[in-house]
């Protein structure tokens, strides 16, 4: 990965982590997983697939380090979501709504995977009453944000104003 996209990706992830842990931790209806959203959208850029997987993994490690859960749990989830995104990205570049649905489905898959792997490792992911609500709120919020900002984010990383114009 060249220097400029690397800097843009790092800044985006940092902003996502800070907004996730401050602003969106206090809004009870709008609860996206911004880092997961970024990782999914990176699959739409011209970044090499291995780099997208690596970025997803490292972003997950950072989120794990900042939280109270097992180190590596979120990293595994993000890397699998990134892989699914890379394998299905050809279907996403159709229109804004399709991109949003694609992001929503991948986010839902990520949330389910987090619950499954977390439960297998005896983590507290499923504890508390809000977890089932989150299974639906997070994908919906991610889908809405992807529809609003997804194309712009991809154009910013690729420095190509023509991509995702949805003529």
């Amino acid at each position: 990965m060249r220097l400029r996209p690397a800097v843009v990706v790092t800044v985006m992830l940092l902003v996502a982590v800070v907004l996730q842990t401050t602003l969106f931790s206090q809004t009870h209806l709008v609860v996206p997983d911004l880092v997961m959203l970024c990782v999914i959208l990176f699959a739409l850029t011209r970044m090499r697939p291995e780099v997208v997987l690596g970025v997803g993994f490292l972003a997950g490690i950072v989120v794990d380090l900042l939280g109270s859960r097992l180190l590596g749990l979120q990293a595994i989830v993000y890397v699998v979501v990134a892989y699914l995104a890379l394998r299905t990205r050809d279907r996403a570049d159709v229109g804004r709504i399709v991109t949003a649905l694609w992001v929503g489905l991948l986010s839902f898959a990520g949330a389910v995977l987090l619950f499954v792997v977390g439960t297998l490792f005896g983590e507290n992911v499923v504890f508390g009453g809000g977890v089932l609500r989150l299974l639906f709120l997070v994908p919906v919020a991610n889908a809405i944000l992807a529809a609003l900002f997804g194309p712009m984010l991809v154009r910013l990383i690729d420095r190509d104003a023509t991509v995702f114009r949805y003529a």
């Binding site: 842990t21 697939p49 900042l66 507290n124 504890f127 508390g128 989150l134």
Partner: protein, 304 residues
């Protein structure tokens, strides 16, 4: 013939998954201390200033939106608060009488305070790690005397959880509603334990052996046998009547007083008074305490 670039996505995925599983296993084996604890502290130290800066900007906006959404009920809330204030002022007058009487008896019997008063540090909640992590960030850390393992309550004195990680300026709190650890409680005169449950905010209360039934509305408070919390702090209200089974086990559910998602301010207790004891308590996996109440012996095991 053109050379197609090799697709190395799957081998990369498998490699990263293996590394992730190894990291998870290592974290489980090291029980959150050692290298992983240092890494967590380092990451939080780097991100904490950004979080504090963002919270400084974001919190007033969130508070404003909250206020606007509650503007319809503001008048009623104001009246209710005024009523509560009048009640509280009445209670303060009563307490001053009690304190004067206590002082009189202390002078009479030449008693001295033991110096074991619990220190309190008020902190603001500045966020949560992610949508799927119920932990809370607060804006106070070791500089304010906060240590790993210290209990946390809300401003009404209800149990919230305990400090899991701490940096110089921030700390991570794990609420009892999402944590693994059990809390030793006393309901009436029976000692039991509560722990969080999957997919619900209600907690599971177990008393073994139980001598008598407990009723919905009974209050569970932290027991003096607890190694994680000082005695007497309210934890939850029993939600269903329950009686002891043939083998003396009583299980029911109870609803915690605190909803961690709505907390803005918490109070960290400097308990136990010796911080070394606090850290030791958090690294112990379980502790079993045997207590005799009313002729019956009760064993309480509390994870930490």
């Amino acid at each position: 013939m053109l050379n197609q670039p090799r697709d190395r996505t799957l081998p990369t995925l498998i490699t990263l998954l293996v590394i992730g599983l190894l990291l998870m296993t290592f974290d489980v084996r090291s029980e959150g201390v050692g290298v992983t604890a240092v890494l967590r502290r380092g990451a939080q130290t780097i991100v904490a200033p950004l979080q504090k800066g963002a919270a400084f900007v974001v919190n007033p906006v969130v508070d404003l939106v909250d206020s606007l959404s509650n503007v319809a009920t503001l008048r009623e809330t104001n009246l209710e608060l005024q009523r509560q204030l009048a009640e509280a002022e009445g209670q303060i007058v009563g307490l001053e009488d009690d304190l004067a009487r206590l002082q009189l008896y202390e002078d009479l019997y030449q008693l001295e305070a033991t110096g074991l008063d619990i220190g309190r540090t008020v902190a603001r909640v500045i966020g949560q790690p992610s949508a799927f992590d119920g932990a809370l960030y607060i804006d106070k850390g070791t500089k304010s005397g906060i240590a790993v393992g210290q209990p946390v309550i809300d401003t009404n004195g209800f149990v919230v959880g305990s400090v899991e990680q701490v940096t110089a300026g921030t700390a991570v709190i794990v609420p009892i509603t999402v944590g693994h650890d059990e809390v030793a409680v006393i309901v009436g005169e029976q000692i039991g334990r509560v722990r969080s449950q999957a997919f619900t905010d209600d907690m599971r209360l177990e008393i073994n052996p139980a001598d008598e039934p407990i009723l919905a509305g009974d209050r569970a408070v932290t027991a003096s046998t607890s190694v994680r919390f000082p005695a007497g702090y309210p934890v939850c209200d029993v939600t269903e009547d329950a009686g002891p089974s043939a083998d003396g086990l009583l299980t029911t559910t109870c609803r915690p007083y605190v909803d961690p998602d709505t907390l803005r301010v918490v109070v960290v207790l400097s308990w136990p008074p010796d911080p070394i004891t606090a850290v030791t308590a958090t690294t112990t996996t379980t502790s079993t305490t045997t207590t005799t109440i009313g002729g019956s012996t009760t064993s309480t095991t509390e994870g930490s």
